[in-house]
């Protein structure tokens, strides 16, 4: 609490039940990050949300892990000047998120990184597709999320034209421990947005050879891939998954992946003859990567 301003300290000491204190992270002496997780404050009560917004300094990054939010208090956050400047919002294991709350996320005009870990179901997820500037989206442990959500995100159409949707700007996606099936992995691989993904986490999923191949082939710029606890539909993890790993890969998590064969693991480090066509497409990828970096 020593870094808090006297007013904030007084307020927080008066209001908190002290399961833990909020943390302010002073990176650039403007408290750009505030962690309100596990504080015991009922942010579902609009008064608490309003008071918190009144006293906390300007920040880019707010975390409400394990909190409870109501529609009304969420609307207060979304419509506040501080809410509109948020670039990162962590709503992990948040109780009380409804369709209205998720729809209100569109008011966070600067939002780029959104974590909804274990917080929403298929019904609420529809609102995510309206977020048009998201860079990273974490839907892990949203156990009710299935194919239709992801399909909607990937093929968000208005009339006949493909509108800009949340997925088109994503560079990081986490769909671990959801109900998303093999069919969607192929769709991700085939979608235009796959080639922009840099980080993909799909822990504890089940692949067929064909979907794994399509997925990995499509994600040509991946630098980080996590498939911990995943498995093939047969007792083997499909070798095709490893055969098409992008050369850009820097981190690979196969922890507890079941049925990784010698052939499959061998592909990770295998030397192969680069064809002229492949070299051309690699030059293309490098140009795209340079474009992404400029963005």
């Amino acid at each position: 609490m020593s870094n808090f301003s006297p007013r904030l300290r007084a307020l927080l000491q008066g209001h908190l039940t002290h399961r833990s204190t909020p943390k302010l992270y002073d990176h650039d002496s403007s408290y750009s990050r505030i962690d309100l997780s596990n504080t015991g404050v009922e942010y579902s009560i609009p008064y608490n949300m309003r008071t918190m917004l009144d006293v906390v300094p300007f920040c880019h990054d707010m975390s409400f892990k394990n909190c409870t939010l109501s529609d009304e208090s969420f609307a207060i956050l979304a419509n506040s000047s501080k809410g509109q400047k948020l670039q990162r919002l962590k709503l992990a294991n948040v109780m009380g998120l409804t369709v209205a709350s998720v729809n209100a996320l569109t008011s966070f005009t600067s939002l780029q990184h959104l974590c909804l870990w274990a917080s929403i179901t298929e019904r609420e997820a529809v609102g995510i597709q309206e977020l048009e500037s998201l860079r990273s989206l974490k839907l892990a442990e949203c156990k009710q999320l299935g194919d239709s959500t992801l399909q909607t995100l990937l093929h968000h159409r208005s009339g006949l034209s493909l509108r800009k949707s949340a997925f088109l700007t994503l560079t990081a996606l986490d769909i671990s421990d959801t109900k998303v099936s093999d069919k969607v992995f192929s769709i991700i691989g085939k979608s235009a947005s796959a080639s922009k993904l840099l980080t993909l986490r799909m822990n504890r999923c089940t692949f067929t050879g064909a979907s794994a191949e399509t997925l990995v082939k499509g994600c040509t710029l991946l630098t980080s891939l996590s498939v911990a606890g995943s498995a093939g539909v047969t007792s083997r993890f499909p070798d095709a998954f490893f055969q098409h790993l992008p050369s850009t890969l820097v981190r690979l998590n196969l922890y507890r992946a079941r049925g990784v064969t010698e052939v499959g693991a061998g592909f990770i480090a295998k030397r192969y003859v680069v064809q002229e066509r492949e070299r051309a497409s690699e030059r293309e990828r490098e140009r795209a990567r340079a474009g992404c970096a400029r963005d």
Binding site: S224, Y255, E262, A265, R271
Partner: protein
């Protein structure tokens, strides 16, 4: 023109995949690994040496439950691992005397050579049983000689904590 598939790979977690020595040997062709977890793999002494020689920037190495590694082979391989700062040797299928020998190599180097793993900062082994006096003495010596090293004695029933962060 020949090229490796994932030449930039720096972090690789193969924990609990139960992959064979042949597979790990294939991975020795990688050159840029910095963090590698081989928990539960059937990696042999020779393969470990090959992986370490080919990846001189290796900093994190998980060898938990690598049951066919011998103490001599591991010592030989790790002498080449100059930058390793995090190491797990939990559930090494070694007798108490062998583990004692390994620990003493951390403090006693042959004349004219550096001690084993000069940059080691975190090292975990299983908690020794009560009657292993020589082992307990070796642990004490390591802690006294290398105060910067966090030597963790992990109880047997503790969950595996991944060393490689991805």
């Amino acid at each position: 023109m020949r090229r490796y598939r994932c030449p930039a790979l720096e972090r690789l977690d193969l924990g609990a995949t139960l992959i064979s020595d042949t597979s790990v040997r294939a991975l020795a062709a990688l050159k840029n690994l910095q963090q590698l977890d081989l928990y539960g793999s059937q990696v042999s002494d020779e393969t470990l040496l090959a992986v370490i020689r080919n990846n001189p920037r290796l900093e994190v190495l998980g060898l938990k439950y690598c049951s066919i590694l011998t103490v001599d082979g591991t010592l030989t391989a790790l002498r080449a691992a100059l930058h390793v700062h995090t190491l797990s040797l939990r559930r090494a299928q070694w007798r108490s005397l062998e583990l004692t020998m390994f620990l003493l190599a951390l403090v006693e180097a042959p004349s004219g050579t550096e001690p084993l793993l000069p940059h080691l900062r975190f090292f975990e082994i299983d908690e020794p049983k009560q009657d292993r006096h020589a082992l307990v003495d070796a642990i004490f010596r390591v802690r006294r000689a290398r105060p910067l090293l966090d030597l963790q004695l992990v109880p047997n029933n503790t969950w595996h904590k991944p060393l490689v962060h991805i």
